[in-house]
């Protein structure tokens, strides 16, 4: 049984997490445990995965027990409480003002909700190249808390899923770290905070379908049709201008400052074509000196600070980095897990 309570501000963050995950899938998995309440979603073609773990201290009140007996209205539940919800039922709940609500029959979440905004961007593939708008945004390395690129990279991924994560990070006011590697390897965005931990893993398009992608990498090859479409769009993008679609995503600025323009700019990009090509121009020379070193070894005054620095990396992602991250999370129940074999 799970019983937790949130204040208005907490509901807002919780609601944003749900909205971010709703961009990945229509189904949300609720996974409460002693470590906290994890919300997870995976999309149908397994190219995107999101997980937000709210620690017990996030909530005003968090009570979790593995008791079998629920109240008279519920069915018996098994020891581990894993619940799957439809997003459609959840999202309107978070729009209610000052209302008590019930999430699902096996788990009660009581709260007084304040209004949350729901964003529903249209997500469309524009196949007519002469009608598509090409948008491009460059962000300098100095805009990042930490900027470390080892290799010039250009990756293509789904914008819709990313936007959810960015909106969520705006609500949490926490820095976001972005890790990526060459095309085909997944891209990871993470927030690591005292109160919550969020990880969003997005597949990126492999450069050519013929290129043998390593077993450990995720790519959109499962959804062949879609990847062909994205491929053709991105190829056309390449031929359109010299700079092609060049967009370096930024991460959140220092905690309380998250410029509105970023959000607007991202909306502008999101409105147009679905794939966003991201190229890191290794402006290594401009990277501040202190960022080049391996920050994991940087001594920090407090453990908290060390964690923060580690997470403020935007670095070339190693295969095993991503794998270990996924392994840290408990496997998804009753679904073929988001497994990177």
């Amino acid at each position: 049984m799970l019983k937790c309570a949130m204040s208005g501000g907490q509901v807002k963050v919780f609601g944003k997490a749900i909205q971010a995950l709703s961009r990945i899938s229509d189904e949300l998995w609720l996974d409460p445990s002693g470590k906290g309440l994890a919300l997870r979603s995976v999309n149908s073609c397994q190219s995107a995965y999101g997980c937000v773990l709210f620690s017990p201290v996030f909530f005003q009140h968090y009570q979790w027990s593995t008791s079998v007996k629920m109240n008279e209205n519920e069915n018996d539940v098994t020891l581990s409480l894993n619940c799957k919800l439809g997003m459609k039922d959840l999202i309107p709940e978070f729009k209610c003002i000052n209302s008590m609500f019930r999430i699902l029959k096996n788990c009660r979440l009581f709260s007084r909700a304040t209004a949350c905004k729901v964003l529903n961007p249209k997500f469309c593939y524009d196949t007519d190249l002469t009608k598509s708008v090409y948008s491009e945004m460059s962000v300098g390395s100095d805009e990042f808390d930490f900027f470390h690129i080892e290799v010039d990279t250009e990756i293509t991924f789904c914008f819709k899923e990313l936007k959810g994560m960015l909106i969520f990070s705006e609500a949490t006011h926490a820095p976001v770290s972005i890790h990526f590697d060459f095309p085909g390897k997944p891209m990871a965005l993470s927030i690591d905070d005292m109160l919550l931990e969020a990880n969003f893993i997005l597949a990126t398009l492999a450069d050519e379908p013929s290129r043998a992608s390593s077993p450990q990498s995720l790519c959109l090859s499962q959804k062949r049709k879609r990847s062909d479409l994205i491929q053709s769009n991105s190829k056309a993008g390449e031929s359109v201008s010299n700079e092609s679609l060049e967009c370096i995503l930024r991460k959140a600025a220092p905690r309380s400052l998250y410029p509105n323009e970023m959000h607007t700019s991202i909306s502008s990009l999101e409105n147009y074509s679905s794939p966003v090509m991201k190229r890191a121009n290794g402006d290594i020379s401009k990277v501040p000196e202190n960022s080049v070193s391996n920050t994991e070894e940087v001594p920090a005054s407090t453990p908290l600070r060390k964690v923060k620095e580690k997470k403020n990396l935007m670095e070339v992602m190693r295969n095993n980095f991503i794998l270990s991250d996924i392994r840290k999370q408990p496997p998804l129940p009753r679904k073929p897990g988001f497994v990177v074999e």
Partner: protein, 280 residues
């Protein structure tokens, strides 16, 4: 052919954005005409539009701090571009708090209108977002179809009531019938009528103003109580009203009996003319 323009003033940028939003609501595809002094958004009365036409004009000096253009030739110093209206309004939407906005005619494998937005960023350096909007250059031989429409002498000219009110009335009427009769007289009365087999609904607007009679046309001898009417497709009227997010500075309605209704609006310094033909 060359075109470059720049907006640095926030109010001008917002105004230009509002104009583009309005055009996006009125016409899916529109023609942008660039001349040394003016910008026009044009929708010509082709069959595809159902006979509706639009002419929107703004004085470039009221918006742009820099404006340079070179038309097709010296004698024809104009540029006509066809574009998807929504592309422009969406691009401008990203420029809400921009430091500067640049518009340029470019050729990136095909002609584009490149919108370049300079945004402020936290680290005090600028961030540039660019949008390449594909456009079609309209050849000179087709320009004759895109000229300013001649406004015929109306039978009745009347100032419109608050557009929001009109819009909500028309929205409800649309549920009953697609056939709307709009009629007005020179005594400040305007009626919107729906007639079906089962029901008739009329909304009366009274005490509206009529502009002073200018020409020595037959309207001088006209009985002020006599209504001039036009039967139109209600959806076209609704689309027009939906495009007016803000109540205009001036809104005039000209009715040519059984022929067409002509709306002449002024949004601050931007003029909009919209023509809806009578149902045949």
């Amino acid at each position: 052919m060359k075109f470059r323009a720049k907006i640095v003033d926030g109010a001008c940028l917002n105004h230009f954005t509002r104009v583009s939003n309005m055009i996006a609501k009125l016409a899916k595809t529109s023609t942008l005409r660039i001349s040394p002094d003016k910008l026009n958004f044009i929708l010509s009365d082709k069959l595809a539009n159902g006979g509706v036409s639009m002419w929107c004009e703004l004085d470039q000096k009221n918006f742009f701090s820099e404006f340079q253009m070179e038309g097709v030739s010296a004698e024809n110093n104009e540029i006509y571009l066809e574009l998807t209206s929504e592309n422009l309004s969406r691009a401008l939407k990203t420029a809400q708090n921009a430091r500067a906005l640049k518009i340029k005619l470019t050729n990136k494998h095909f002609p584009c209108l490149t919108i370049s937005v300079e945004l402020l960023s936290v680290s005090s350096s600028s961030r540039i977002v660019t949008h390449d909007i594909p456009v079609k250059v309209i050849p000179r031989k087709l320009w004759k179809d895109l000229q300013e429409p001649v406004v015929p002498d109306p039978d009745v000219s009347i100032y419109l009531p608050v557009l929001k009110t009109m819009k909500s009335v028309v929205e409800k009427m649309k549920n009953i019938s697609n056939h709307l009769i709009i009629e007005a007289n020179l005594s400040g009365a305007l009626n919107l009528k729906i007639e079906t087999e089962l029901v008739c609904v009329t909304t009366h607007f009274k005490d509206l103003a009529n502009p002073p009679l200018v020409s020595e046309s037959t309207s001088q001898d006209r009985n002020p109580e006599q209504m001039a009417e036009v039967h139109i497709d209600i959806r076209k009227l609704l689309q027009f009203l939906a495009g007016q997010q803000v109540n205009p500075t001036r809104a005039l309605c000209n009715i040519v009996n059984n022929k067409m209704v002509h709306f002449d609006l002024l949004h601050e310094d931007v003029s909009l003319q919209y023509f809806i033909p009578a149902l045949s």
